[in-house]
Each structure stands twice: as structure tokens, then as C-alpha cells.
Assembly symmetry: C2
Homo-oligomer: 205 residues x 2
């Protein structure tokens, strides 16, 4: 669609929205015209919220999670178990695990996984800083919670080799069939693992 | 999803995106984190493009299309046929008709259609200003290009009654089966109209 815009300002705003992932020119136009129908304060709030976020956002100096402060609210919470670190790929994964309310330790956000195809090596990720945290002492367990993909497994293995000599306990989150999944539609790797890694039935799940 | 955000700035930006039509909290988070990965200039451009648009945008004083100037580029183009006005609901419709390259007259953007259910009456639309343009003289034909809905038809009829006494030629865009549509799947109203309003075959379409 080689669109003719009636206004250069409109075209500029639409092009900015169309740069976002999953937003095509038609959707971009619809979103911009929606904003244009809002009052000026609402539009100013929209625009400035993004600018302020980019200018003022911080990343926790310990776990590298997004934060409003030097040390994030999780790392600075005395109620959390500071001897356990859960290693995740990104900020969304921290939020997903926090939502389960099943974890009370700290995190370490790698900022990605090792992916030679995308040119991402160990040095591009927060792996050295993870080793530093473990080497500084006081850590009992490191839980690897990366995606169950080739890249995730590669990263797991790299971290395992890096931390093996420290004597820290290393674990990987369980893989198996998901809640409410149907066995017959589960892929064979997952189903196979769920049998090999079966858990002794105690009447509780 | 009652999400816990690790940063208030992040939460604010996500909430602003989630106000946009068709954007849920998950998509909003994905878009905001995408922006956060861009450099500061790119994010500033994104935010300021929306703010500038809202502050600086104009609407053509003649046709009410969005514009960077008092009189839009279509209304001020001496190459266009100033004796023909095409009445449309909104800015997107102007862009859609311009894209066909089949129309060389001017436009009149109503800003909606009459919809009693939504509390939109004739006074909420640019109908009086359309009558003023026609009454000012020099107009040969007014083409009504509104959506073929109950509201569009109501608006067509209202404008027809308003302009009937002026003696201006009034037309409505053709309704019929769309290019590449299959007859058997076309609704009966459309198919019925396409037979009633059939066009004498001259070897050209």
C-alpha cells in the first residue's frame, strides 16, 4: 500500500507506529486517528510516558531487571531468599514467574540466550555478572529457567560449565506436559521427558 | 491479568498503550519493551511525533480533511474539478478514494454518519457546512460515498432532502458485487441490487 497522506504530520506519526512489531500501516493509521480523537492531555500523556520511560528507566545493578531504582524492589526486599537465584532470559519472564507466587528468591536477567545464528554469544549476555554474584558467595542454588529451545539448552549448558567449579547447586525448571494439555497431542520429546522425569505419586500434585 | 510491573515508569507506558483500540496489556508490554530496546532518538521521535501531530494538526476549512495548512492540498489544487464534491465519512475514506486514482474532484468529510443509537445527529456532523458550500454556487454534482449501512443510508437520505431544493446533481456510489467476489457467497441484498442496477454491456468494464 503506497499510501498518500493528506498531512505530513499524520504520515510521520503513522510511520512511527508502523515501525512497531506486528503493526502494519493500516493499523498504525487507525491507532493514530484514535489518538487524534482524544484530548490534548491524553495524547501528551501517551507520548511523554514513552519518552520518560526511555530517559529515566534504570536496570537493577544486581539482577539487571528493569527498575525505577539502582537496586530493584525484588533485590532490596529483605523478605526474599537472597541465597537463591533464578536465571531468566528477559523481563517478561521475571513478571511471569512473579505472577505464579511460587518463587521467593532473587533473579538474574541474562538479556537473551546464546544464539550463534543471531550473532549472540556469551559476552553479549549478563553471564559474567552471574558468575560474579555466585563467586561473591552466599548463594545456595541457581535455578535455570530458560526457554526449552536449542538456544536455551545451549545457554543452560554454558552456564552449567561456568558455575560447575563453584560448587553451587544448579537446577533446571521441570519440563513435562502442561496443565490441561491432552496427552495425545503432546509432542513426543515432551511426553518422553515427562515419563523419564516422573514424580512419585504421594496423593498431592 | 493483574500484572505486577517491576517499574512504575514501565507500568505507566504499558497502560498508555493498552488504552489504544485492539491493544491488550500483553501486546502493550511487548510494544513498550520493543521501544525500550531502540535508541533514545528513535523513542523521542516516536513520542514527539504523536504530541506534535495533536498540537499542530489542522483540518481544512473547506472540506474538513486533515491537513498541514488552512486549505488542504486537495482543495488548493487548481488541477482538481472544483465543481464536484464527494461526501465521505472520514479521513480514511478520502485516502481510500485517492488511492483508486479514479476521482479528480474535491471532498467533504462529514466526521461520521447519523446514528441515533450512538447519539450522533446531523448537528454533530459537517452537514450544514456542506449545504453552505453547495449554496455558495459553482457546484455541479455531489457524490455521496458513505458506507452501505443503515446509518450511511439514513445520512444519504438526510443530505438528499437538505440539498434537493438547490438543484445540484446528487449521486450515490454504485453498489454491487465486488471484484473477485463469488456470486454464490454474495448476500442477497447486494446481488439483488447488482441485477436491478445492471449496466448495459459495451465490451468494456
Amino acid at each position: 500500500m503506497n499510501q498518500q497522506y493528506p498531512s505530513a504530520l499524520l504520515e510521520k506519526a503513522v510511520n512511527e507506529f508502523a515501525k512497531l512489531p506486528g503493526i502494519g500501516p493500516r493499523t498504525a493509521l487507525r491507532l493514530v486517528l484514535h489518538l487524534l480523537r482524544q484530548d490534548t492531555t491524553a495524547v501528551d500523556n501517551f507520548g511523554s510516558s514513552v519518552i520518560r520511560l526511555k530517559h529515566d528507566v534504570k536496570y537493577c545493578r544486581v539482577c539487571h531487571n528493569i527498575s525505577d531504582t539502582e537496586l530493584c524492589s525484588i533485590c532490596s526486599d529483605p523478605q526474599r531468599d537472597a541465597a537463591t537465584i533464578c536465571v531468566v532470559e528477559n523481563i517478561q519472564d521475571v513478571m511471569a514467574i512473579e505472577n505464579t507466587r511460587q518463587y521467593r528468591g532473587l533473579y538474574h536477567v541474562l538479556g537473551g540466550v546464546i544464539s550463534p545464528m543471531d550473532g549472540i554469544g556469551p559476552a553479549d549476555l549478563e553471564i559474567a555478572s552471574l558468575a560474579d554474584r555466585v563467586n561473591a558467595g552466599g548463594i545456595r542454588e541457581v535455578i535455570l529457567a530458560l526457554s526449552p529451545t536449542m538456544e536455551g539448552d545451549t545457554t543452560n549448558f554454558y552456564i552449567f560449565r561456568k558455575l560447575a567449579s563453584t560448587g553451587v547447586k544448579l537446577s533446571v525448571i521441570a519440563r513435562g506436559i502442561a496443565q490441561n494439555d491432552e496427552l495425545q497431542y503432546t509432542d513426543e520429546v515432551t511426553l518422553g521427558r515427562s515419563i523419564v522425569n516422573r514424580i512419585i505419586f504421594t496423593g498431592q500434585m
